[in-house]
Subunit: 362 residues, 4 copies
């Protein structure tokens, strides 16, 4: 199989570096193009990330000598790349939205990790195990814009990756969940680099992350929603209430979850069985980054833990533990997923694999 030529936009930031790292030996994709803001452009990738390469493995050989291109040079990108990953960490959402649209207009599929287009009406927000049927919105999006080959597909925020697939597995098994009260204990890598100051994280916890609770509460409704009259309609059955905190952990977000079912309530044993047996489209399609089992349930009373469980199945599986009755809702449990792998670059790669396999990237 010929490898797809891949560009990374925002390649010098933390998420961009994770893409570079995770794509090093990818069987389908080859990074041939790295772009960043004008400031970083014009030198080799190695030069551009000098003193701020934060991965634990060396810069991949095939990328270190690539010249970093100006992200504004869309024409050059369109000649070099079959598609691009958008890994912007820019706070100006309108700017990111505009750039992503320009790339799509230039015939490039844009697989985005940024939040700019998550609420956009005709852009699917994908977790491949949950809503691969939302892919069909891409045709509508292309029609809306008059794009032939290009399009935008996004992944959701890292804070909900740990609990949403387990909830979806229950929904799909005939036990729809109605209410979720959640508290997250999130890793500092979610804030990028330099990100959270160490003075705030030594012997401390910060019980606030700007914008995070809103995303955690709202994005699941779109992901679990449906397409009606060529538009996304949010899931109306579910309500989420979230408190998001930052803890002194490098990687992986942990969530404590209380759930109430809409109608009937499965037994604890049924739930564990549903989770352990859960497989979905990425597993059926044998996508390279798909975890064998998307949901791992552990019996030990003190798991999941960030240091011990984040790397499960290369950081792409969700680990759950402590399922037990709740005195107010039906059940409570603890869930964990790797925020910079499943929750960021790894999730983006899985999206791209799905888009290839389903014929949207070709």
């Amino acid at each position: 199989m010929k490898k797809f030529k891949v560009g990374i936009l925002g390649a010098t930031g933390m998420v961009g570096q994770n893409y570079v790292r995770l794509l090093e030996n990818h069987p389908w994709f080859q990074v041939v193009y790295v772009a960043a803001s004008t400031n970083s452009a014009g030198v080799t990738y190695e030069e551009a990330v000098k003193g701020r390469w934060h991965m634990n493995t060396p810069i991949p050989e095939k990328v270190r000598n690539l010249i970093v291109e100006d992200v504004a040079n869309i024409e050059k990108a369109s000649k070099k790349c079959d598609f691009v990953f958008s890994a912007f960490e820019i706070s100006d959402k309108n700017l990111v939205k505009e750039i992503e649209e320009k790339y799509a207009a230039a015939h490039m599929p844009v697989v985005s990790n940024a939040s700019a287009n998550r609420k956009t009406d005709d852009v699917p927000m994908l977790i491949p195990e949950i809503n691969s049927d939302h892919l069909k919105m891409i045709k509508i999006q292309q029609k809306n814009h008059g794009w032939s080959k290009g399009f935008i597909a996004v992944k959701p925020n890292c804070s909900l990756q740990s609990y949403l697939t387990p909830i979806y597995a229950l929904n799909k098994a005939g036990y729809p969940v109605k209410k979720i009260i959640i508290t997250t204990l999130q890793a500092v890598s979610g804030a990028g680099y330099p990100g959270v100051p160490s003075l705030d994280m030594i012997d401390n916890v910060v019980p606030f992350i700007g914008g995070e609770e809103e995303k955690t509460e709202e994005e699941p409704l779109k992901i679990l929603g449906s397409i009606v009259n060529n538009k996304f309609v949010n899931n109306k059955d579910l309500t989420v209430s979230a408190t998001c905190t930052r803890v002194p952990v490098t990687n992986s977000h942990l969530a404590t979850v209380n759930i109430l079912f809409k109608d009937k309530k499965p037994t604890k044993e049924e739930i564990i069985k549903i989770w352990r047996n859960f497989k979905s489209v990425p597993q059926d399609l044998k996508l390279p980054f798909a975890p064998i089992n998307p949901i791992i349930y552990r019996e030990e009373e003190n798991r999941p833990q960030p240091a011990k469980d984040r790397d499960t199945d290369k950081g792409m599986a969700v680990t759950i533990g402590r399922l037990r009755p709740c005195k107010i809702f039906d059940y409570k449990f603890v869930a964990l997923s790797h925020n910079t792998v499943r929750g960021a670059a790894g999730g983006g790669i899985l999206n791209a694999e799905l888009l290839v396999k389903e014929g949207y990237i070709k």
Copy 2:
């Protein structure tokens, strides 16, 4: 005022050391007696805690040369002490229960930090700001046992100190709370010393603390309960569901709290006003360890934080922040209290002060 002569049972453990530290310059109490298990007895206090004195201030002069007595030598204690603090960290609850009863039988009030007698029918579990009316159970207890001067009074678990006083303040203001879903992020000092291994706390979180969720859910019902026919009757209106986690913080427990009111619901402004205006018996009585304001509400969006708020009013005040609407219950907020001060030795001292002022210790 003549100072009361105070003994500390379990004086060499972490809680015992905190009692020794906090009582150093107490206006009413003077530590004249320290007792521990047979193994530690017979040497000076300084000798007994050598290499395991964990306080940041030196051993108080008046205590360092006291000979550590065997906790079994009750007769000696009864001659020396007006009352005793029980700071046992022994896991055998029956043993602790038995010892505390023997001290009470020997005419000594026992102000306990241990969990052994928290569920005992005629033992009051006190937070002085909340249920000083439960003191009247002491007469019943003395009658039940045939004790004239001795009795047992306990304080509740450290994990609920941060949120229960704020809830009580709302109840008392005419807004009874019906349901509480809570997640705690607890400090390692709660597990004593050596306690939690550092391998479990560097770059990690442990989402489980043995027995803690049960205490967090059950103890509030007794504290907010009433006395009917000379017996404690649990509060029937309230249900608590808790998830307790351990985070890499030395001192203070943080809780994320979701609450649902029973009937009518105050505005956010009313709640903050209720909290800020809340004063109770310890404040009225001007007890030495009473915080001026038991509840501090902070406006900053990222507070309370352990490192910044735990020492507020010498560690005796509860700090609250982030009060905001909850999409499922009525409100959510974050609360914090110092686990080894308000939640342990400091709370015990405040109980003793209340017992003195109300005439139970004399």
Copy 3:
């Protein structure tokens, strides 16, 4: 005694905040003026530090409503202040040098924490316990510049505070030290705020701090030097070799120290006695911020430790432990001092107290 009216330049930064905190109840000094860069000027101090007040105690009442002045408004400062503390965290040393000189020229003594003037020929770099005789350089400095009342006096870098006073005590007792090989383990607060990213400090150590080893090696030579022909001459007998590392600690720098004496070598017992008996000018003058004993020696085999020893004598004493023979040099030991108190604002205040008592500030 009438209090001196004090201004703080760079009052909104970390060092500035520490000055504000430590001066709250100072018996001689009252903060009446706070200045910062043009960006921060024109609002109240409370407003200016909103969301970035990093002290654990509230903003002092007398400072919170002061209007932050532009640091360039020297005339206003000179009308309001008897003297100023310079707490700049600006990287442009020439700029800081220029500003400090302008304040001195405007008749204000400048007690500086900044590094800009540490190497200046006629500016004394003071540790009051060591080189109060360097004060006489002030007259020469005033003469050089034609200043009547104003002058500049600085304090040295925080990294050398833990070991230099103990070395000086040995020198003074007749045992001059010739060679020092040192490794420091330094706290993150030394880098200000936001300072060191938490991603670099969780489960990690960074064995490099820009410019720190040079300061640690060179500054002691001036401090222990003499004044010859109205000029500072570096100490020629001592050589220091330093490795400076950053560790996940909030406050206090620890140093492991290997020393070789120039001539004769005292016994371990003599050294400990010299340290314990050491008192100097600040103690004789009973300066308010002077520690009772500048050097504390602890016998425990595992001390000093940052968490346990940094606050000794309000953070102004140095704590030493583990004195033992070295197989290569004569002895080795471990030393610790609080970097933001003794090593920054507290040290600056002690300098100012000395300057007052010796008649340089009046």
Copy 4:
């Protein structure tokens, strides 16, 4: 190639678990036997480590159902195993010495990680890159004891692994090092589990590790020593002075190193070249666990760092940085190695590979 049947003594401890983990897919060795103290014996390995399996990967399939044998059952071990790894974490050195000798007497080579036999006259203490010529002591040892096939070989302490190979590389290149002053910043995993309490490691450093400085100073002399008249003679040219500290890091020991050469002194460039070109016996023999380059030199000014460099070449390479002139000795640098891989189980495995390849294990 037929795989060797391997037993692990002390298999349930931290070091034992690391052996189990690292040997999972070893090309030459297969774990067929796990032994522990009587208390842990008689159940499956999975059962024996329940709740205290500290590795981040699952228990290897081939080991989880092995029955844990009593370490005293030497006869059974001798029937099942070609050789054994000794991973005891028992503090009683005489007991460990005795057990290891019994296994050797029962015809089993013992490749030990324990300290019990490090000082034993006829037991080689091996770092394969340095002193593979010490293997010939094994024949002498076997003769001394009358052992035909069994013998004992040990590895040195983890604290010296980071700096000793670089020193040896310089010695071998004709630049013998005479004096080393070193400070180590060591990870908590070196103390096993539960090991260092988290209360000592949050916002703290402990500048003492019992027995560690003695090992760090003495063991290099044997490793760099020679065999004269069938006995080990310590290296007489080298002196080491060490200060060992514990820092809040999970894995890998960092050392700051000051060195003085005996005679002539290479340039910085020569040293880096010597290190980068250094290869030795394990590389020549292509041992499976041998790092390609035993010494990695990094140019960045802030490396090596535990979190970024410990896993280099599967944790078997040493990483060095910051080589620069020392004002007192000749040079100083920073070195890092993974304490539980290169410094413990990985080092033991490399020793066993060498022993196989050189014909001592067959």
